[in-house]
């Protein structure tokens, strides 16, 4: 199995929105390498005829009636917010992307 490079760790950190330090990059690269080498064992078991399991208990079709339930007040909704304005969550400027 592949091992993981420092650059790959930096890419993962970007994807995961973690502003890791240079030191952390080294530490994590080494540790993830060891862990991945170990967990890659899952590739040893034959696979083609085995269905994957995503849920531990085999339930299907669990639905809710389309009925309004009491939610939170605006004050409760905003109670944990680092910043608010006019009943809304205030966040730093969002660059580009989808509007």
């Amino acid at each position: 199995m592949n091992t993981i490079s420092r650059d790959e760790v930096a890419h993962l950190a970007r994807l995961a929105r973690l502003a890791v330090t240079e030191d952390e990059l080294d530490t994590f690269a080494a540790q993830l390498d060891v862990i991945l080498a170990s967990v890659a064992r899952v590739g040893e078991v034959a696979a083609d005829d085995i269905p994957p399991t995503s849920h531990a208990v085999p339930l299907t079709n669990v639905f809710r009636a389309d009925e309004v339930r009491p939610g939170l007040t605006q004050q409760q909704a905003l109670s944990g917010a680092p910043a608010t304005e006019d009943g809304r969550f205030k966040v730093p400027q969002i660059l580009g992307g989808d509007e």
Binding site: L12, L18, V57, Q76
Partner: protein, 504 residues
């Protein structure tokens, strides 16, 4: 030490409901005990003395007015793992990123405890977002094991387990994703139960790995765990994975088990969980437990679950994958910590907040999961791990045709010194070797005290596993074993916790 705090939950309930002692008195004694020993143990992140006393007073008033107790545990104190949301207490999950966050809603577990008149003493310490096996990964400092305060109490629910062993609470709540209830129970000489996945609502339980997480009871005796189990369990329409079936009658099962007859019952010894890698004292206590079960009339059979060898590897792909997604919401936009470090954009603030707010283990698992799910790697890692999950379930199914319950040591070692494994993730992960398969398959499992390891005098746990919704037979075996063990040893294990007497 006040005798009330050394009592079991069922003893306290009897005293309170008969009017011999008030819930307020019981609560006060526990708060005093917490004040005395918690500076040393650090089981609690938050103690809610006033709220606890006012709940106790309500229970006392209702009883004084001639009302029936709201539940068999009405008036009994409990320590709540800080992973369940509470409207009147902070919920931090042991993380700086949620430091001081007060949720605007109660978890279903919290609501059921309140409805049952259980007195919530406070919130207990844990590895950050339930990721760890020692409680050293808490942002608020480690919890110490009451048996030896230089050692860890296990994790992630080390705070809950330690609170029981230190007599700070007779009951506690845990969550078990890969062993976070059972392994701390083993390391502290207490009882911990992981119910069947879907048996207890996850609504308001801050997710670690959604497909593996399960909340369950922690106590000092099997009966107390069963009493709490029946308060917690049952269908919740707010959790789509909650099972809509009757709750197994576990209290009845305990009463039957305590009569000490296991004739006709087949106990399967999992072949893969023995031998090298298991501390000699753990092996010794495990063998003694097997003898005990045999003496109770159970038939011991050896079963093989070959894919359990792959469980740890598959677990450390599935768990981080789900974690990477579940923890994405902690970004400093809507609640919790926000760090800007002069950053200008939302994206930069998110990254700075997450960098400052998460500890090393959380970051490690987030990156591992991000990797396992990314395009190009998904099939080899996550996809393959899910297939291992299928194979583990099949191993269980086959084993349960040969045995009614399966047994193994709960953990390969006894409590280890604080700091010994904290920088060696793989060594830490091995703690959960025996407990992980039940989370992968979703069936129920528990740990009961098996005795003390010869070489270090520290507790060892016996793991008992049963099929999904097979809690009744599991509790029955546990109760029979506990009664026999206590009789042989001249009392319950928890009576032998070294005194933590501190000047009052």
């Amino acid at each position: 030490m006040n005798e009330l705090v050394r009592s079991t939950a069922s003893e306290l309930a009897a005293l309170i409901h008969s009017g011999e002692v008030s819930s307020a008195e019981v609560t006060r004694m526990h708060l005093e005990r917490i004040a005395a020993v918690d500076p040393e143990i650090h089981a609690f992140l938050h103690v809610a003395g006033d709220a606890a006393l006012s709940t106790a007073a309500e229970v006392d008033a209702a009883l004084a007015a001639g009302e029936q107790p709201r539940s068999p545990l009405a008036g009994v104190p409990l320590a709540l793992k800080d992973v369940f949301t509470t409207v009147d207490m902070p919920t931090t999950c042991g993380s700086k990123i949620l430091d001081g966050w007060q949720p605007p809603y109660d978890a279903t577990v919290t609501a059921r405890l309140r409805a049952a008149g259980v007195v919530i003493l406070g919130k207990t310490n844990m590895d950050e977002f339930a990721m760890g096996s020692s409680t050293e990964h808490s942002a608020f400092g480690p919890t110490r094991n009451p048996w030896d305060t230089r050692r860890v109490p296990g994790g992630s629910g080390g705070g809950s387990a330690a609170s029981l062993a230190a007599f700070e609470a007779p009951l506690a709540m845990g969550t078990d994703t890969g062993g976070s209830i059972r392994q701390p129970a083993a390391l502290t000489g207490t009882v911990g139960v992981k119910p069947t996945y879907g048996g207890v609502s996850r609504y308001g339980l801050v997710a670690c790995a959604s497909s593996l997480d399960q909340a369950g009871p922690c106590a000092r005796t099997v009966l107390d765990a069963a009493l709490l189990h029946e308060v917690l369990a049952g269908h919740d329409p707010l959790d789509s994975t909650s099972i809509d079936e009757p709750v197994p009658a576990v209290v009845d099962a305990v009463r039957r088990g305590a009569q000490g007859d296991l004739r006709g019952l087949r106990v399967g010894m999992v072949k893969e969980f023995a031998g090298d890698g298991y501390q000699p004292g753990v092996q010794g206590a495990y063998r003694a437990a097997l003898d005990q079960l045999s003496a109770l009339g159970a038939e011991l059979v050896e079963v093989s679950c070959p894919h359990f060898d792959y469980a740890l590897a598959a677990y450390y792909l599935i768990l981080p994958s789900e974690v990477s997604s579940n923890l994405a919401r902690f970004d400093g936009m809507r609640y919790g910590l926000r760090v800007d470090n002069g950053a200008a954009t939302a994206e930069e603030v998110m990254a700075a907040t997450r960098e400052a707010g998460f500890g090393a283990e959380a970051k490690r698992r987030i990156m591992l999961g991000t990797y396992a799910l990314s395009s190009g790697y998904y099939e080899a890692y996550y996809g393959q791990a899910q297939k291992v999950r299928t194979l583990i379930s099949r191993d269980f199914t086959a084993a349960f045709t040969k045995a009614d319950v399966l047994v193994s040591p709960t953990a390969p070692t006894t409590a280890f010194p604080i700091g010994e494994k904290v920088d060696d993730p793989l060594a830490m992960y091995l703690n959960d070797l025996c407990t992980i398969p039940a989370n992968m398959a979703g069936n129920t499992a528990m740990s009961v005290p098996a005795g003390l390891a010869e070489e270090d005098g520290l507790p060892v746990g016996l793991q008992i596993m049963a099929p999904a919704l097979g809690e009744a037979v599991m509790y029955r075996v546990a109760a029979a074993f506990e009664a026999a063990r206590d009789a042989a040893e001249g009392g319950p294990l928890f009576r032998r916790v070294p005194g933590l007497e501190v000047p009052a």
